[in-house]
Amino acid sequence: MKNIFKIAIRNLLRYKRRTLMTSLLIIFGVVLVIVFSGVSVSFKSMMIGSITDSMLGHLQIHKKGYVSSIDNLPLHLNIDEKGIKQLDKIFEKHSDVIEAYSYRIKFGAMLSNFMETTNIRLTAVQPQMENAACPRLVERILGKVQDPGKFIEQGKIIIPENLSKGLKLKPGDEIVLVANNKDGSVNGLTLTVSHIIEGLLGPSGRDGFIHIDDAKILLRIYDNEINEVAIRLKNPDKLGSVNMILADELSQFKNQQNNPVFELHTWADLSPFATIASIVDLLIITVKIVLIAIVLISILNIMMMSVYERVSEIGTISAIGTLPSKVLWLFMAEGFSLGIISTIIGNVIGVLALLLINIANIHFSFGRMKNILLEISISSSELISVSLIVIIIAVISSLQPALKASKMKPVDALRHI
């Protein structure tokens, strides 16, 4: 085998310019895939991380029917004390995969600065639970947060940036919240603005935050009730399997009509960014298909030329007793060597390009998210997958010319000039 590769490499070097051009084309393709994958996957992961870690969590549980009417932020689809206890048991049972969870009450209200009034969406939380379930929420809060576990206190409100600008509100200002209660009556509560929070893409990305106890006072909820649970997983990569486990657990709870009590959604079901993430994945696949086409055409071309130019040589080695299978391996080894050498160089250049992009400290804006630092990385599995694509396609594209060479009759090949 060593000798087959020695001859293969020498044959490649025999046509230096042609080999170089083909190799450069493959290297370009590999670098393109690595840079594109690195940038787009990092962007996607960053955005998903931002959405899940600072807003949605990885999974959310609501009472059945809540999500379909989530735009109205209904209060009649709350999970009661009994439901909360059922959920507590499930979370305890699966504490090996669930890192944290946060109970929330989401509702709509009117916010007044005593001169102007506007509507606001609010998420009422228990700050310690919320900080554990969405640890990057505090990063969105403008100004310093002394204790992330107490980022919202009773009597305070965190308002979204767009409202603070529109109503000219700043920390320390007083506002009044007016909200409809569950029974239809109206109640008001005076709160002090503690912080301003920057907006984020998607529903609840522009919510204000208050303490859950204030929400209960405002909404006149006297029992333990919530309408949303955000769940953070220990390993986000196991989202699919945990989703199935929890869906199975939740399906056992039925109401009197024998319908499920709860509904479970992943972040992707709730965020419009999931569509963008799918498009990014599709683009990566497209770029990989381009790479496959580059490798396939360029190696097929060089190997076909190689076989046609060396018919007489094929005749010679066959005449002196080289088995057809070894002739096949000789040509396959050329395609494989070209593929593997190009992919190694392409990997090195691609990773260096990603390092250079990181050194350049590129910032970008996405939706309402401004000045985001693009921190690019690429997983070793992605590098391995790109390399395997090139090597496998190189071998496949060498196969046809190699088969042609191995099937040549020595007597015909020797006659070839």
């Binding site: 044959n11 025999r14 005749g315 066959s318 005449a319 002196i320 080289t322 009759k409």
Partner: protein, 230 residues
């Protein structure tokens, strides 16, 4: 027992709708350690005859025996194995692999065909390169060698597998007179030293005289057999 035996061998080629008879009812017996030449004008069937003996082609009818084996029914793989074990080839255009040095060209059949261990391989290669006087040129590539030198390396490559029979198709056609005679002399010496049978084709009357047995072909038939008195 004969090393090569052809019985009623004919070979037809299909040229479009026409069938061209390249060999007609050939009957030959060649003994071991002979130095045989096929002579005749172009198109007389010399190369076709060598190809049949060398298991590179199959007859349209008749039987071909080499080293006691009937080779005309061999599959492609069996033919390749037989060639690698029992036959050596020398070509008109030398046919050395350009990416390999003289040493590596001689080494090629030992690695790719006979799978000989490295130590034994080196001994054998040097033995044959020395025998043809090319040991000092072993690291040169074919492009760095003259025609005569290339053919010496080719002789060395043909002999390194210790074949019973070496077939040479016009081995001197691309050489000047001096080199041509040197190559024939070398082949003769190898035949003597290594007890190898040589069959070569040529149309050069001066070269032909070096053979022990001369078969003359015309229009695909053997028209004369001459045994030289040396």
């Amino acid at each position: 027992m004969s090393l090569v035996e052809l019985k009623h061998v004919t070979k037809n080629y299909q040229m479009g709708e026409m069938s061209v008879r390249a060999l007609k009812n050939i009957e030959i017996e060649i003994d071991e350690q002979s130095f045989v030449s096929f002579v005749g004008p172009s198109g007389s069937g010399k190369t076709t005859l060598l190809n049949l003996i060398g298991c590179l082609d199959k007859p349209s009818s008749g039987e071909v025996f080499v080293n006691g084996k009937q080779v005309n029914n061999f599959s492609n793989k069996e033919s390749a194995l037989f060639r690698g074990q029992h036959l050596g080839f020398i070509f008109q255009n030398f046919n050395l692999l350009p990416v390999l040095s003289a040493y590596e060209n001689v080494e090629y059949p030992l690695i790719m065909v006979q799978n000989i261990p490295a130590k034994k391989r080196k001994e054998r290669i040097m033995h044959y390169l020395e025998a043809v006087g090319m040991a000092d040129q072993k690291d040169k590539y074919p492009s760095q060698l003259s025609g005569g030198q290339k053919q010496r390396v080719a002789v060395s490559r043909a002999l390194v597998t210790d074949p019973k029979l070496v077939l040479a198709d016009e081995p001197t056609a691309n050489l000047d007179h001096v080199s041509a005679f040197k190559v024939i002399e070398l082949m003769r010496q190898m035949q003597h030293d290594f007890k190898t049978t040589f069959i070569f084709s040529t149309h050069d009357p001066k070269i032909v005289k070096e053979a022990e047995i001369i078969y003359t072909l015309e229009d695909g038939e053997i028209v004369d057999k001459e045994i030289a008195t040396l």
